[in-house]
């Protein structure tokens, strides 16, 4: 069965690290199967560019199944494109129409310096994790079932927050380039569980301080992050982070 194909015009941000300023370059994307993912479409365009002895478009990717958090670009002004709760690698071309023009830009934030084209340096998020997003005690091997009872509600809470894949779309989508959704997901995930509770307060303080030091913006409850997050992380996590933070400061 031959699937439907479409023709598109891409406007892609091109910039080398040495360039002071990048620019949008226009490329045709011809005969794109609607069954392809967005990244596969970029692969096709890159093959074309390589054949023409031009520099292919640099973009980040790894698992291509929506679980690793490596991919991501702003597509027509929307982080990971316009589909809800979808990473760029899981965004399929059937959501576009023949003749569309697609503008593709990298995540934009002072805390995410550009490396090349669509690739940005997101190590600021790693720095925030290194500041406290872990449990210090050695948890040992897998415990016997039910030796540490955790109610379903609590497990759900922790799972919801743990769904964050650290892609940085929340920062990209936030009008203030704030990383609060990411940080709150990590803080609430660990604070919900007995293993993470003892350090919850210290963790919140350390991670918030690091987040501020990395140059992210301040959250003003615009809620664009939760609307764009591919994993559906809710701003309820941010309220929880605020509570943990106040607890750490005032208690």
């Amino acid at each position: 069965m031959i699937s439907k194909t479409i023709n598109l015009t891409l406007k892609v941000w091109r910039q080398n690290r040495s360039d002071k300023i990048g620019r949008l370059e226009t490329y045709p994307a011809k005969d794109i199967s609607v069954d392809m993912s967005f990244l596969e479409m970029l692969d096709v365009v890159n093959e074309d560019l390589t054949r023409q002895k031009k520099e292919p478009i640099a973009f980040d990717h790894d698992c291509r199944e929506g679980i690793c958090g490596m991919c991501g670009a702003v597509v027509n002004g929307r982080a990971h494109g316009h589909e809800k709760e979808t990473t760029l690698c899981q965004l399929h071309m059937r959501h576009f129409s023949d003749g569309d023009t697609i503008v593709i830009e990298p995540w934009r934030a002072r805390a995410f310096p550009l490396i090349k084209d669509l690739v940005v340096d997101r190590s600021a998020l790693d720095k925030v994790i290194a500041a406290g997003g872990y449990i210090s005690v050695n948890a040992g091997g897998a415990p016997d079932a039910n030796s540490l009872p955790i109610s379903r509600d609590v497990a759900e809470k922790a799972f919801n927050a743990a769904a964050c894949i650290g892609c940085g779309a929340c920062v990209a989508a936030c009008p203030n380039a704030s990383a609060m959704l990411f940080v709150s997901a990590k803080v609430s995930h660990l604070a919900a569980l007995p293993q993470g509770k003892p350090e919850a307060a210290r963790r919140a303080m350390a991670m918030v301080r690091q987040m501020d030091a990395c140059g992210f913006g301040n959250c003003s409850n615009e809620t664009e992050c939760e609307a764009e997050c591919p994993k559906g992380i809710s701003i309820i996590e941010i309220a929880r982070l605020n509570r943990e933070y106040f607890k750490s400061e005032f208690a």
Partner: protein, 213 residues
């Protein structure tokens, strides 16, 4: 004390200051509105309200100083946040679309904030910093709203206030950590009701004084 300053300087600390001072202003706004409703009862009722208020003497002073301090905190923190947030994204997007989170209120907070500051200054010049030995507050109200530009200005200004409150109200609850699936819809609903009350309650006064009274 050091830890406290450090806390307030953090991003969440600044949010907390905006939330607490903002809550105080919303409470003030509601009390102010209840007082102003006496205007609908006519000159006598309004003037007796003004007398009762001024009879509180030192309490009024304390409230004024409190409000002024809060205003300084709210405005200066707001300006710092605005500036820092602009800097957090040095290169803007060529195409920037909303995903459905932003509202008119949230997107315009800094701008409506500055407009409100301007409005408060004019408002105080109109009714507070006047020679109270020469005229009653009622006469000042009557004279001001006899001028059509003032009627328009005040009506537009309270709509701006309502837009600011429409984001500020639910947002302050989120900031202090009070976001729960059970209660947030009610908090958001209350925010809309308060915004509409402010717009309608204050907004109709100039029109009433000028055209109906």
């Amino acid at each position: 004390m050091n830890w406290f300053i450090e806390m307030l300087r953090s991003s969440i600390g600044k949010k907390l200051m905006m939330a607490i001072t903002g809550l105080a202003f919303i409470l003030f706004l509601l009390i102010h509105l209840i007082g102003n409703l006496t205007l609908y009862g006519g000159k006598e009722l309004f003037l007796s309200y003004v007398d009762h208020l001024h009879a509180l003497g030192p309490l009024i002073r304390v409230a004024e100083i409190g409000l002024l301090t809060f205003a300084i905190i709210h405005v200066s923190t707001g300006l710092i946040l605005f500036w820092q947030n602009l800097q957090a994204r040095p290169v803007r997007y060529q195409v920037d679309k909303r995903a459905g989170g932003r509202t008119i209120g949230s997107a315009t907070m800094p701008y409506t904030g500055v407009l409100i500051l301007g409005f408060v200054v004019v408002h105080l010049l109109n009714f507070h910093f006047i020679d109270h030995t020469q005229q009653t507050v009622f006469q000042a109200v009557d004279a001001t709203f006899a001028m059509l530009p003032y009627v328009v200005f005040y009506t537009v200004a309270v709509i701006v206030v309502a837009i600011h409150v429409s984001h500020g109200f639910w947002s302050l609850f989120q900031t202090i950590g009070a976001n729960h699936i059970k209660y947030m819809p009610a908090i958001k609903g209350l925010g809309v009701i308060i915004s509409l009350l402010v717009a309608a309650g204050f907004g109709f006064i100039p029109v009433y004084v000028s055209f109906i009274m």
